[in-house]
């Protein structure tokens, strides 16, 4: 479904990620792991079209989307819940969701919004608050909810559990499984390695922009050298 071929990306002369090849199968969860600064966020932002592609290509559904502007990519079905949430702070929670639903017909809005609220009831209580005033965890929920509003086929979530309480993390992972069951493809970036390894089918581990390991999640779990050296498990 999504294919990265020898992707390199970065900022100006700086290469954040080099030579990354990755292929996501439809309906799977793929974990992108690695230490701070490994280039995970850069990869996601590059797929979304915000970080300059310096080499290689990105294919989605078999089409090369490397040169498409970000707003075209989301229309093809790629949504992102970025690092740092990047909410529209001066807009209310509901309007943030509305922006998420802009590429869908207006008639879908109510239904999709209710779906997101069903997922994160806390958001339902704060619909008229400004997004900037939400607590850290609420913001995270909204960022994911906003991405879901685009009715994506591929959703990329950066630091899913960042700032979330254990209960909500459980909830999110349960939701991921559900989304996956409904056929959505998921690309997940996490520091919470254990959790990723428990839900993902495929795993790719980055270190300083290079791929150091790629394969099935199950194999990763059993590879102690890997978990020790790169995944910070103990």
């Amino acid at each position: 479904m999504l294919e990265l071929n020898n992707l390199s990306c970065g900022y100006g002369v700086f290469h954040a990620v080099g030579d990354l090849s990755l292929s996501l199968q439809p309906g799977t969860i793929t974990g992108l792991l690695g230490a701070n600064g490994a280039g995970k966020s850069s990869t996601l932002m590059c797929i979304a079209g915000h970080v300059t592609l310096q080499g290689g290509s990105i294919r989605f559904d078999g089409h090369d989307i490397s040169t498409l502007p970000p707003h075209e990519r989301v229309k093809r079905g790629i949504a992102i819940s970025p690092e740092g949430r990047r909410l529209f702070k001066d807009l209310t929670v509901e309007d943030n969701l509305r922006v998420g639903g802009l590429i869908q017909p207006a008639s879908h809005f109510a239904k999709d919004r209710d779906y997101v609220i069903g997922l994160f009831p806390r958001l339902g209580e704060r619909l008229t608050s400004l997004a900037g005033n939400l607590s850290g965890g609420e913001q995270q929920m909204l960022a994911i909810g906003r991405a879901l509003m685009t009715r994506p086929r591929l959703i990329m979530i950066d630091e899913l559990s960042l700032g979330l309480m254990p209960k909500v993390i459980d909830l999110c992972y349960a939701a991921l499984k559900q989304l996956q069951a409904d056929g959505m493809t998921i690309l997940l970036v996490e520091q919470n390695t254990e959790r990723v390894l428990s839900v993902a089918q495929d795993v790719c581990v980055l270190e300083s922009g290079r791929t150091v390991w790629q394969g099935k999640a199950a194999d990763a779990r059993n590879n102690h050298e890997l978990t020790e050296a790169y995944l910070g498990l103990q």
Partner: protein, 287 residues
């Protein structure tokens, strides 16, 4: 009676302010830039209004041409001037904008002469008598009505529609807005076009009211407009309208009753400062 007339005159003045300030508000709301050169578009509108009317005799054609030309010039300003500066601190754009404004003022002077232009046969000058003996020029009435209508439409668009939400999202985080299907370029072009066209529109009206367009006619709106968008709470269409009208009326009374103490600009800005001290977020801002 005098009281009513002063209010009415304040509203006429306020309507003009509102039309000019609205473009500033749109630009400020979108890019957080104090767009001083906006006033040059107002001047452009005035000149085109007079010239087209004098050449063709048709005021409506003059309006159309002035608005389209001002709108396109505005878009060009954005593309050539502001777009490359978006990543810079805001005063960079402010100074560039001032430079641009000075250059435009000079171009008008060099091309059309320093002493300005007038209508050969100024239209819409008939007197209209309203209830209670209030007298207006036809042009004055129309400018008020036109402003009210335009602003109502814009306010509706801004707060009630998906387009409005899209614009606001662009303001908040342009990059993310793109990731939700919003075409940045398009949103900004449209905003600049609309805002600038309104300035052009206002320019034609002022030309009608004063029967004089001059290279320097934009200088007052250039800074009063800034005061108004601040009063209006920065970025809201309704706030801008209210602030412009209030300022118009305050000036109207102020020049009559405080004229001995302070000049018109000082009155307007004294009002602004008092308001900001009491409400630092502006008169009509959402809390």
């Amino acid at each position: 009676m005098l009281f009513l007339e002063l209010i009415a005159q304040g509203l006429v003045q306020g309507s003009i302010y509102a039309l000019v300030a609205l473009g500033l508000t749109l630009v400020y709301g979108l890019l957080r830039i104090l767009h001083v050169a906006h006033a040059a578009l107002f001047t452009l509108g005035g000149y085109l209004g007079v010239m087209v009317t004098n050449a063709t005799g048709s005021l409506s054609l003059a309006f159309v041409i002035a608005m389209v030309a001002a709108g396109l010039t505005g878009v060009a300003m954005y593309r050539l001037c502001y777009e490359p500066m978006l990543k810079q601190p805001p005063f960079v754009a402010l100074i560039a904008s001032i430079g641009l404004y000075i250059a435009f003022e000079e171009i008008f002077r060099i091309v059309f002469g320093a002493s300005g232009l007038s209508y050969m046969a100024p239209p819409l000058q008939q007197q209209v008598e309203l209830f209670g003996g209030l007298q207006f020029k036809q042009a004055e009435l129309m400018v008020m009505a036109g402003t009210a209508a335009i602003i109502a439409v814009l306010a509706y668009l801004q707060t009630r529609t998906r387009i409005g939400v899209a614009c606001q999202a662009t303001v908040s985080d342009p990059q993310m807005a793109q990731s939700f299907g919003i075409k940045l370029q398009q949103v900004r072009d449209i905003n600049f076009f609309v805002g600038s066209a309104l300035a052009g529109f206002a320019g034609v009206w002022v030309a009608l009211l004063n029967n004089l367009v001059e290279p320097t006619m934009g200088s007052v709106p250039s800074y009063k407009g800034l005061a108004i968008i601040v009063l209006g709470g920065m970025g809201s269409v309704r706030g801008t309208l209210m602030a412009a009208l209030v300022l118009g009326v305050v000036e109207s009374f102020g020049t009559i009753y405080l004229g001995k103490l302070l000049d018109r600009n000082a009155i307007a800005f004294a009002f602004l400062i008092v308001v900001l001290m009491l409400r630092p977020q502006g008169l009509f801002a959402r809390s």
